[in-house]
């Protein structure tokens, strides 16, 4: 669609796809940044109401302009770099975090045909990027030259490395069933089944993925790297202003990416299960992005819901859960899926 508009302007050849890609990137970037801003608002509202509070109410009607005010505030805040910090590493750490988080979005298909890079190793690429984001955290923790940051960074390293394994293994079942690493093909593979969602045959994988995703994005109940009550803010204690906001952005984009992988791999992405379409044929007219958004925001809501319910894990429990429960479960899931795939 974008291509046809651009070629009608008299541009042709390679430039068309190049400009179309840039336009798409701009759209995705804008939408995601808006999502990030309002995800903070959504979170504060959800947690507020769970605790019988109201959440932000002052800026704009029902506090709707609060994220904008927060953005402007953090943009104009003084940028403080501690005198003991390693300046270059300190400056580059938040950029790596955001870069890695945003990079994941390149392979996420938002609806049929709308994907920035339709590559064959989509899932692998996302794993790579999400491990890369740990570097940002570790570097921030190290370069701040503060004990809290350092502890946060250390915890994050250990946590991300151990849960990366479970995260990767939990999706192997999906890879086996869809015979692809391309996210678009994974979604299409789910349409071949009556249920249209891998969460039903892959419930074990989905369970492991869900928990590992929480740990991977450093969200409660696995928010040990930034444990407010022990480490003040964890790895980004010493950050202020826009750099601080960048870490926040990275965290919320990370949540969005993890939700979208979960939706794409287990909940049928932008599609609706075929049996629902058969029951209500009029639903087929609803654009795919609507379903995708609904599923994504359900996931994001679950993130907030769990954060407002569960207390933080103890560190050894976290490691025990990761290595002794989730990885064996994921391996079991792979074995079962492979056996069924081989014999049926």
């Amino acid at each position: 669609m974008i291509e046809s508009v651009i070629s009608s302007l008299g541009i042709s050849g390679f430039a068309v796809s190049m400009i179309a890609l840039l336009v798409k990137i701009a759209i995705v970037f804008g939408v995601v940044m808006l999502h990030v801003a309002y995800a903070t608002y959504f979170e504060r509202k959800v947690i507020g109401h769970v605790q019988l509070r109201l959440g932000p109410m002052t800026v704009g009607p029902h506090g709707l302009l609060q994220p904008i005010a927060d953005g402007i505030k953090s943009f104009f805040k003084e940028d403080i770099i501690p005198s003991g910090a390693d300046r270059h590493v300190f400056k580059i750490a938040p950029v790596i975090s955001v870069f890695a988080a945003l990079g994941c979005l390149a392979v996420v298909p938002f609806f049929d045909g709308f994907v920035l890079a339709n590559i064959n190793i989509g899932l692998l690429y996302i794993f790579a990027m999400s491990s890369l984001s740990a570097y940002g955290i570790v570097m921030a923790g190290w370069s701040s030259n503060s004990k809290y940051s350092f502890l946060g960074g250390l915890r994050s390293t250990a946590q991300v490395i151990s849960y990366e394994v479970a995260l990767g293994l939990s999706l192997v079942g999906v890879m086996i069933m869809s015979e692809s690493l391309n996210l678009t093909q994974i979604v299409e593979a789910q349409q071949k089944y009556w249920h249209g969602m891998f969460i039903i045959p892959q419930f074990l994988g989905a369970f492991v993925f869900m928990i590992a995703a929480f740990a991977e994005t450093n969200r409660a109940p696995f928010d040990l790297p930034e444990a407010e009550s022990e480490l003040v803010a964890g790895f980004f204690v010493e950050y202020s202003g826009m750099r601080f906001a960048l870490f926040y952005m990275a965290e919320y984009i990370g949540m969005l990416v993890m939700s979208s992988i979960s939706v794409l791999c287990f909940a049928g992405g932008w599609t609706v299960p075929p049996f629902v379409i058969n029951a209500f044929p009029s639903l087929a007219a609803v654009p795919g992005i609507v379903w995708f958004m609904l599923k994504i925001y359900f996931h994001v809501f679950v993130y907030y819901w769990i954060r407002s319910t569960l207390p933080r894990f103890r560190y050894d429990h976290l490691m025990a859960l990761g290595w002794k429960v989730l990885i064996p479960l994921a391996l079991l899931n792979i074995v079962i899926t492979a056996l069924i795939k081989y014999f049926c």
Partner: protein, 193 residues
């Protein structure tokens, strides 16, 4: 481990119960009071900002007896008096260091004229210590601020000058409450002897 316990662990029943609880809380009425827009009416007897009661003719009711200063546990009341032209006691300065006050209201209880009150004003803040050093004028202004926020009938208690209750005997100590004196007549008589 019994079967029940295993089922509980595998399906995370405890966590699901907690999640159900928080989900239900999501739809309950929030208890937040949005402060600057919805102010809470203080309860009766709330002890807030100090004030000196103003007489209908404009001056303070206070006669400068110094009982409040004497009873104050944090010693934050300072009174300076002098002898006026018609040999009356004049209260030159009546000062309360509000930041040191602990709002026990013993001064209010001690005052035989109900000349000092703790109003229900709780919104007062400032940037300097001087702002909280209440001089006599400030205390009278506090009273006016308090009086403006209330109905006239509320002040009948203060404006009917309790002075009128005190039909002073020749050299008797004045009694605060006539009915109380009536009730404990024998004790007071006993004390009078």
């Amino acid at each position: 481990m019994g079967l029940k316990k295993i089922i509980k662990k595998v399906f995370m029943l405890e966590i699901l119960k907690g999640m159900a609880l928080t989900f239900r809380a999501l739809f309950k009425r929030p208890v937040t009071r949005q402060y600057p827009r919805h102010k809470r009416e203080p309860f009766g007897g709330f002890r807030g900002l100090h004030a000196l009661v103003r007489r209908p003719d404009g001056d303070a009711v206070c006669v400068g007896c110094g009982l409040c200063a004497a009873v104050c546990p944090s010693k934050c009341i300072k009174i300076h008096t002098s002898i006026g032209p018609d040999h009356k006691k004049v209260v030159n300065r009546y000062e309360v260091e509000v930041l040191r006050c602990l709002y026990c209201a013993l001064c209010v209880e001690a005052c035989p004229y109900k000349a000092v009150v703790l109003t229900d004003i709780y919104e007062y803040s400032g940037f300097t210590r001087e702002e909280f050093y209440m001089t006599k004028d400030k205390l009278l202004a506090n009273w006016d601020r308090f009086a403006d926020s209330r109905k006239k009938s509320y002040f009948a208690n203060f404006w009917r000058p309790l002075l009128s209750d005190f039909k002073s005997g020749k050299d008797q100590a004045r009694l605060l409450d006539v009915s109380r004196a009536e009730k404990h007549k024998d004790i007071y008589i006993e004390a009078g002897k």
